[in-house]
C-alpha cells in the first residue's frame, strides 16, 4: 500500500470541513503540524487517529478518536475548536475569537481501555485482504453500517447517509459474466 501524502490528508480534511461547515485552523504551521501528525498515525496504525491523543493501535478501541473524532462536533459547538484544534468554527477562523484551549471530552474509561489494549492482531489480515482488490480506478464500496454503495477510487471519508467513518466502508468484489 502506498503511504498517504500530506496533501491527501490536507484535502480530505478540507473536504470534510466544507461538508460539515467547519474550517481548518488558519495558522499554517499549526495546520501543517497537525496534518503531519495525522499522516504519521495513519502510516503507523492504518487509520488517522487524533495526533494529540494516545492511540492503542487497536481499531475498536480507537474508533472514537479517528479524525474527525466523535468529539469534534460538541467541541466545536462549545469551544469553537476540536480537541487538537484542526477544525475550528467560522469565528475562530476569521479571527473574531481567539483559538481556544479545549479540554479532553473523551471519557477516561475509553482511554483506560485503550491503554490496556493488547497489540493489534487483526490489523494485518485486513491489510492483506485489501491487496487482493483492484488497485487502480474506481471501485464499488459499500457502507457496512447502512448499505450505501458508491463507485469511486476511494471510499468516502464519511458516509453521506449515516455518517459512518471511512473505516466502515468495504470494497465489493464484483464479477460480471457474459454468457451466450
Amino acid at each position: 500500500m502506498t503511504p498517504i501524502t500530506i496533501e491527501q490528508v490536507r484535502k480530505r480534511a478540507e473536504a470534510d470541513a466544507q461538508t460539515y461547515g467547519y474550517h481548518l485552523v488558519p495558522d499554517p504551521d499549526l495546520l501543517q503540524g497537525l496534518l503531519e501528525g495525522l499522516k504519521i498515525n495513519e502510516d503507523r496504525y492504518g487509520y488517522p487517529s487524533c495526533p494529540c491523543r494516545l492511540a492503542s493501535g487497536n481499531f475498536d478501541y480507537d474508533r472514537d478518536i479517528i479524525c474527525p473524532c466523535d468529539y469534534r462536533d460538541p467541541d466545536v459547538a462549545e469551544f469553537g475548536a476540536c480537541y487538537c484544534r484542526l477544525y475550528v468554527s467560522k469565528d475562530v477562523y476569521e479571527g473574531k475569537v481567539p483559538l481556544p484551549t479545549v479540554p479532553e471530552r473523551r471519557p477516561l474509561e475509553k482511554q483506560s481501555k485503550a491503554f490496556a489494549a493488547p497489540p493489534p492482531a487483526e490489523a494485518k489480515p485486513a491489510a492483506e485482504e485489501k491487496e487482493e482488490f483492484v488497485k487502480v480506478g474506481p471501485k464499488l464500496w459499500y457502507c457496512k453500517q447502512c448499505g450505501y454503495v458508491v463507485f469511486r477510487d476511494d471510499p468516502p471519508y464519511v458516509c453521506p447517509i449515516c455518517k459512518a467513518k471511512r473505516e466502515m466502508f468495504a470494497q465489493i468484489k464484483a464479477r460480471i459474466d457474459f454468457l451466450g
Binding site: 497537525l34 501528525g37 494529540c52 491523543r53 494516545l54 487538537c84 484551549t101 482511554q111 490496556a116
Partner: protein, 97 residues
C-alpha cells in the same frame, strides 16, 4: 520505577525539575518543548506513543499519581505543578520565565 529513557534537554534555567509527557505526533507537545527550549529551561521529556505497552502503562500511572490527566502534553514541575496542554501563561508563571 523509571526504567524507560527520558530525553534530557539542557538549559541555563535548571532550578526546577521539569518533565514533559508528550506524543511524537502532537504539534502542541512540540510547541511546548520548543517554548521551554527557547526560554532556556532545562527539562526532560518522553514521547509516550513511542513506548512499549508496559512502559505506557507505567507512564500513565506516573502521570495520574501526580494528579495529571491523561492528555498530552502534560508538564509536571517539581513533582507538584501540573500543566495540561500547551499553556504559555501557566508555564511562565510556574517557571518564572
Amino acid at each position: 520505577m523509571r526504567t524507560m529513557q527520558f530525553s534530557k534537554v539542557k538549559g541555563d534555567k535548571n532550578q526546577h525539575k521539569v518533565v514533559v509527557y508528550a506524543l511524537s505526533t502532537c504539534v502542541w507537545c512540540k510547541m511546548t518543548k520548543q517554548y521551554l527550549k527557547d526560554n532556556g529551561v532545562e527539562y526532560e521529556y518522553i514521547d509516550v506513543d513511542l513506548l512499549n505497552e508496559e512502559d505506557k502503562q507505567k507512564i500513565r500511572q506516573e502521570i495520574q499519581s501526580k494528579g495529571g490527566s491523561l492528555s498530552y502534553p502534560t508538564t509536571i514541575i517539581d513533582d507538584k505543578v501540573v500543566v495540561t496542554g500547551f499553556r504559555k501563561d501557566l508555564l511562565k508563571e510556574a517557571l518564572g520565565i
